[in-house]
């Protein structure tokens, strides 16, 4: 057992000859906000896909709270307490906002199809509780007025917020956010950053965040891991990362004497 809540050791995958992610190690302690950054195509989303089981790891191990999860199926990983949002929003468009959130808490429910058909007290209690939980989370994300709206009709920024809301409803131990601020305007971004920080601090949630907006990442993350070509090139606090030579090279290219 390790001291880390999420402990990935040497995970990797290659697609044909392309090593999308190689020997990546991520150690995340309990509580706090961690950033995962890197230039386009560095393998950040691939890393998320490996952690959440969308791709299966070709090498390495992942432990979540002492439980080995890299051999599990995606739904079992979600049950173990690792949930994510998607870079290209994947909401259940036809369902209402409330239903999108409620469906995620089905994971923690214990009623079976028989309870459903007969509407037993257990079923009623759980459904009421699910709705309460969902409404509470919608308030946290500021979406409570759109509860009955179809998810596909929400504005873009709200869809991203709803994804976070839905992921929270699975009661994760670690929340993975894949570019939550992509496509948002500056004021929306600022607001979102505050929300994410708030989730982290007041819920005691552990969050791993992929983001391209450096300002946002540097502002709210405590530690940052930098990827390039599927490999970790730097780990450290925002200040350390900003002055790291390798990171600057990865983003801006090598310095050449002229």
């Amino acid at each position: 057992m390790s001291d880390f809540l999420l402990d990935a050791k040497g995970i990797g995958i290659s697609f044909g000859g392309l090593k999308a992610c190689q020997a990546l190690s991520l150690q995340i302690p309990r509580g706090g906000l961690y950033g995962l950054i890197g230039p386009n195509g560095a393998g950040k989303t691939t890393a998320f896909n490996l952690l959440t089981g969308v791709y299966s790891c070709q090498c390495g191990t992942v432990h979540l709270d002492g439980l080995r999860i890299d051999t599990l199926k995606p739904h079992q990983i979600a049950e173990a307490g690792l949930c994510r949002t998607f870079q290209n929003i994947r909401l259940m468009g036809e369902l209402s906002v409330l239903d999108n959130v409620r469906l995620a808490s089905h994971l923690r429910g214990t009623h079976t199809i028989w309870h459903t058909v007969l509407r037993t007290p257990r079923f009623v209690a759980q459904e009421l509780a699910m709705e309460q939980l969902a409404r509470e989370l919608l308030v946290v994300m500021g979406l409570e007025d759109q509860a009955t709206e179809q998810a596909k009709n929400l504005p873009y920024g709200d869809q991203r917020r709803l994804e976070i809301c839905r992921a929270l409803a699975t009661e994760p131990k670690v929340l993975l956010l894949d570019e939550p601020a992509a496509g948002m305007n500056p004021s929306e971004k600022k607001d979102l950053a505050r929300t994410i920080r708030g989730i982290c601090d007041s819920f005691g949630m552990t969050i791993l965040l992929i983001e391209h907006d450096m300002g946002l990442v540097m502002d709210i993350c405590e530690r940052i891991t930098v990827l390039d070509y599927g490999e970790t090139i730097a780990v450290g606090t925002p200040a350390e990362i900003q002055s790291n030579k390798k990171v600057i090279e990865a983003y801006l290219g090598e310095a050449v004497d002229v």
Binding site: V54, C83, R90, G93, L107, R194
Partner: protein
Amino acid sequence: MKTLAQHIAEVSPSRAFRPALMLVPWLACLAVALLIHYAAPMAVNDYWVNVMRRMGVFIVAAVSLNIVNGYTGQFSMGHAGFMAIGAYIGAAVTYYGSLLAHGSTNDPAFYTQGVLLMLAGILAAGCVAAGAGLIVGLPSLRLHGDYLAIVTLGFGEIIRVLLELTSTQIYDAKEVTLGALATFPLNGPVGFERIPGYASLFWIYLFAAITCLIAFRVKMCSSGRAFLSIREDEIAARSMGINLTKYKVRAFVLAAFFGGVAGALYAHTGVNPSPTDAGFARSFDIIIMVVLGGLGSISGSVLAAIILIALPEALRDLQQYRLIVYALLLIGMMLLRPQGLFGVKEVWDLFRRKPQPKDKDPHGPARFASAAGTTGGAR
């Protein structure tokens, strides 16, 4: 953040447990069935009563197929196969049961042995069809879209061919032995004959109402949301902890069970179930009802079943042109409302008024009132 378990602990038992309310929907089903049974014959002639019996059967079939095609979005084209299995099982239980019990199939009264045999047959039909659904579903639901459609289409055809290979029916009560029954005397390609028509309007609409109630309850709960989320986005559903295979198979088995029930009811409406009932033509009929009504809409399926059974009858005056008109009407419907009559909504959703949103900055600050300790920039 409070967990679901904490929320559940907070729900007061008096809100959760209301024994009287638990019975009401089932009694409502009974009332609907009784109403239709006694009111319909007063309103229409015998011919239309028979049409209404067919309608009831197809309401059960369409609503059950909606669980697979509508809720989970898996395209099953073999529903007639499950219906045929149900029809033959139900018919065999009633027919051979009657022969064994009292030597003939004459037993037309309301609450007697014959009806009990029919109910046992319906239950058996549902269970056998559900078993068949499990056998077909487990391997094939790992497939997607067109591939699943082809497998299920093949399943229906297999059932049709198997039914054609069954041996001749036994008409003499003395010849009905265990050994004779083991050869499946279901009358091969000719079709199973002389099945007493015990399925009155009452029984058919009782089962139709119960099917709708169960399908509706399944839709409006966490399992139902799991089904619908599979239709919307499998990857996202999986990442939210939904076991895709388990839920797809569950939907398939549930649909097969009620498909079997529909078949068994059909066999008791005075028709001779024949192997062609398992063919793809019948499957398409049911699919058309589901698509026309709206994928995922129970009331849509009910309405579509009623319209599509009544339409050819109402168009009878047009004689040989009626099927052309029928087809044109279908094409017109699909052009005007490609999402079906109601989409995923129910009839009553269309009349519900939208709640007016309160005045509020749409991107206002997030709130953490419910959580302990509001720090970290949250106002």
